[in-house]
């Protein structure tokens, strides 16, 4: 199958997913008790003031009508505006998207590079290093990102003062500051992920090393370096890429906490705040962006399969 056909097929198949998640979010949010009009009106409002706000926000309309209105607007690129600040949802999200993307991409790159490097080393050297990777993997899995975040802040921000405690510096404003603001958050997200990828890499590489074709190559005098990088790693890459893809999506959960602890204005913390406030347009917009992100990641993983494995290309 050509890559283009795969992309088109995947995108077509994803369209119902977008509808489904947006409709599901709408229903779920409406089931949560709480009323944004009540919050906006405040504790001193009269019944008339409260009713006026409900009318203005369209909260009195039946749920399907509210959803339909949102959907038709969304088709025209208008995701509505925040019930609280009145700011356009697209503008809020476009300000916050780079923050979350920076965190997720940097964490994936760092954990991918470091994890594969560690995994390869331990597969080749074995012994103490192998046990160390196993130990680190257990530790990385056991240490949740929120605990790691507090730990790295205490050591590297409060005591050593190498990095800022809070905040995000936009890349276009100051690339050095951007990288600096990412170091601690990315460390706390990536440590666990490095461990998972290292272990996965080691196991896949060892598994491939024991395959017959590798023995044949070794017997035929291929250089060990060429065998390792060109053949073993390539074969071992499929499960690693799968894990990376799953990891990238699952990092969203860790990002919610890390954005809050490091006071970074990203989409994950925005979604959390908006949910507490019942700010439906913001929640809908954020969920839409996140769904698109998940679709894109899955597509990228599939394309990577095509590139890495000739069997996928011909099937």
């Amino acid at each position: 199958m050509s890559a283009l056909r795969l992309v088109v097929r995947r995108l077509l198949a994803s369209t119902p997913l977008l509808f489904l998640t947006s409709a599901l979010t709408f229903v779920l949010v409406s089931l949560v008790p709480g009323d944004p009009a009540r919050t906006i009106a405040g504790q001193h409002s009269t019944a008339e003031q409260y009713q006026l706000i409900r009318d203005r926000l369209g909260l009195d309309q039946p749920l399907p009508v509210q959803y339909w209105n949102w959907l038709t607007q969304a088709f025209h690129g208008d995701l509505g505006s925040s019930l609280f600040s009145g700011e356009a949802v697209t503008s809020i999200l476009s300000n916050r998207l780079p923050v979350s993307l920076s965190l997720i991409l940097a964490s994936t790159v760092v954990s991918g590079l470091a994890g594969v490097a560690l995994g390869l080393l331990s597969a080749r050297r074995g012994g103490v290093l192998m046990r160390l990777v196993d130990g680190l993997a257990t530790l990385g899995l056991a240490a949740p990102p929120f605990w790691l975040a507090l730990l790295v802040i205490e050591v590297f921000a409060v005591t050593l003062r190498w990095f800022p405690v809070t905040g995000y510096v936009p890349l276009e404003e100051n690339p050095g500051g951007w990288a600096g603001s990412l170091v601690l958050p990315v460390t706390s997200i990536a440590l666990g992920a490095v461990a998972i990828i290292a272990k996965q890499t080691r196991d896949s590489v060892l598994d491939t090393m024991n395959k017959d074709f590798i023995r044949v190559m070794q017997a035929n005098g291929f250089s060990p370096r060429s065998i390792l990088y060109r053949h073993i790693l390539r074969n071992a890459a499929l499960p690693i890429v799968t894990v990376l893809g799953v990891l990238m999506v699952s990092l969203l959960g860790a990002v919610v906490f890390v954005e809050t602890v490091f006071a970074m204005p990203g989409i994950a913390s925005l979604t959390q705040q908006a949910t507490i406030q019942h700010d439906i347009p913001v929640i809908q917009g954020a969920v839409l962006y996140i769904t698109v992100f998940v679709i894109v990641v899955n597509l990228a993983v599939d394309l990577a399969y095509v590139r890495l494995d000739p069997r996928v290309r011909t099937s």
């Binding site: 008790p33 609280f84 409060v158 050095g176 990088y229 006071a263 204005p265």
Partner: protein, 517 residues
């Protein structure tokens, strides 16, 4: 590409990442709080809105006060000082007519003059749209310009604390320019005030940080102490305090269990009472929970609470036990009423038996699980168990959810946290027969209503005494179980800042008094 070069490329990428990170590390450290010309403060919440009259009193004041001057100004000593108005006062008797004379040299940040007409329009906008207007300014009938610089406020019923309503704490007196009133939706992204600073939207990001720069048209340049004021929103309390500890920021509101950490890190810590917390016995006629209709039962519920223990556990030294709805320094405060209901479970049981409930009873209650507002009510419910009173608690996790339930008249008791106010304003929410989240059943007590009416119309010299009588009466009637006064606590870098003050009902004034040392 050969295998080796691919391998090197990966190694190169890693080292680039490491080098960038280490350069950034130096940059991050050097930037600090933005130098001695910049004031950086931390707020635990983003402002609900930047429209001054729709913003939340307390949590949003800094965001509003920097850009919007108010007609009057409250000092830390509780005295009212001039603001955009130079002279003010009630005309005639009964506190129904109030005149303000504006200063002649004040301009909005856009350069247009602050006229009586603009002020009247702004106050009328606040009356119609203000978050607290339905209660606090409900007595006002009209606001009109009576001359180029004179404004008259007329009230249908006496309003004895208009000067308190129009200062920087209650926000309703924040004067908005005609340009701002022409399109209020723009107030979310720009400021339209006559304050010492203006919001710099290019250097701000909604929900994350808000930057203010000096207003070139400000009428008193000596008040402008900073080239830039940045309010950074950090919702995680420990990250916020860490930012101040490391010099990334200069000032932060903290919670009781952070105060010691702040002190040991070399920061200055100041505190003053801000609010009272407890359980509101809202169903005073016994509509839903019959026992609450008997004053002896309500008093029993007060005697069954060990205020000292709860206050110590929840607020440590940053709270004081109390049984009333006022703070020291405010007009209704009765010093000997903090201990009106000493902890005495035996007496409580006796009172319950006299009222016909020797074995206790059960009732429903609603608490707000936001900002730890449920801690004190939950402790109260635990202590009630020892006199046989059991509570089925519903915890709301959002403010909107709490307000909706509180006004639904399905809960006889409600947990509360309420900021200290002049008793006239408190009485509108709590003591007069108006439906509100604090008086959902619109409880009516003719004697109390008459006492409050007399106090509201009295000359200033007599008001405090009359309001103290009203407070004594309502506490005797046990309409609520107030438990503690809670402090407002701030930690700040006293090597950099001076003029940081907090007092009952007063917040550190970033716009005027917080200055470089």
């Amino acid at each position: 590409m050969s295998v080796i070069s691919r391998h090197r490329a990966a190694a190169g990428l890693l080292s680039v990442a490491l080098v960038t990170a280490s350069t950034a590390a130096c940059g991050g450290q050097a930037s600090g709080a933005g130098g001695s010309d910049t004031l950086t403060v931390i707020s635990g919440t983003a402002p609900a809105t930047l429209d001054p009259v729709k913003a939340n009193v307390g949590s949003d004041n800094w965001f509003v006060n920097l850009a919007y001057d108010t007609l009057l100004r409250l000092g830390p000593d509780g005295e009212i000082q001039p603001g955009l108005a130079e002279k003010w006062g009630y005309v005639g008797e009964n506190n129904k007519v109030f005149d303000l004379t504006l200063r002649a040299d004040a301009k909005f940040a856009d350069g247009t003059p602050v006229t009586a007409r603009a002020v009247a329009d702004s106050l009328n906008y606040a009356r119609k749209n203000g978050l607290n207007s339905a209660t606090w300014s409900s007595a006002i009938d009209s606001v009109t310009a009576t001359g180029p610089l004179t404004v008259r406020v007329r009230c249908a019923t006496p309003h004895p604390v208009l000067p308190m309503l129009l200062n920087q704490i209650q926000l309703m007196g924040s004067v908005i320019s005609p340009k701002g009133l022409a399109d209020p939706s723009k107030m979310g992204s720009a400021s339209f005030g006559a304050g010492p600073y203006v919001l710099d939207s290019a250097q701000s990001a909604t929900g994350d940080h808000y930057t203010y720069t000096p207003n070139p048209n400000y009428w008193d340049k000596s008040r402008i102490h900073w080239k830039k004021v940045v309010i950074k929103v950090v919702t995680n309390p420990s990250s916020g305090l860490d930012a101040v500890k490391t010099g990334q920021a200069d000032l932060i509101p903290v919670i009781a269990n952070q105060a010691d950490t702040a002190k040991t890190s070399g920061l200055a810590v100041i505190n003053a009472p801000i609010a009272f917390v407890g359980v509101n016995l809202a169903d005073r006629d016994g509509t839903l929970a019959e026992p609450l209709g008997d004053v002896r039962v309500r008093q029993a519920l007060n005697h069954a609470v060990n205020r000292q223990a709860i206050t110590q556990a929840v607020f440590r030294e940053y709270g004081q036990p109390t049984a009333q709805l006022s703070l020291p320094g405010l007009d209704g405060y009765v010093s000997d009423y903090d201990n009106r209901y000493p902890y005495d479970p035996e007496r409580a049981k006796k009172l319950l038996a006299e009222a016909g409930y020797p074995d206790g009873f059960s009732l429903r209650a609603e608490v707000q699980g936001v900002n730890g507002f449920d801690l004190v009510p939950q402790a109260v419910f635990q202590q009630w168990k020892q006199i046989g009173v059991t509570v089925n608690v519903v915890t709301d996790t959002t403010v909107g959810g709490f307000l909706a339930n509180a006004t639904s008249k399905t809960f006889p008791a409600l947990g509360f946290a309420y900021g200290g106010l002049p008793t006239y304003l408190t009485s509108l929410d709590w003591m007069l027969p108006h439906t509100s989240a604090f008086n959902p059943f619109a409880s009516k007590d003719d004697k109390l209503t008459a006492m409050l009416a007399e106090a509201a119309a009295a000359p200033e010299s007599k008001q405090a005494g009359l309001y103290r009588n009203a407070m004594r009466y309502v506490v005797d009637q046990a309409w609520f179980v107030a438990v503690a006064r809670q402090d407002n606590i701030y930690a700040y870098n006293d090597k950099k800042l001076t003029g940081v003050t907090v007092a009952p009902g007063y917040l550190p004034d970033l716009a005027w008094t917080v200055a470089p040392k």
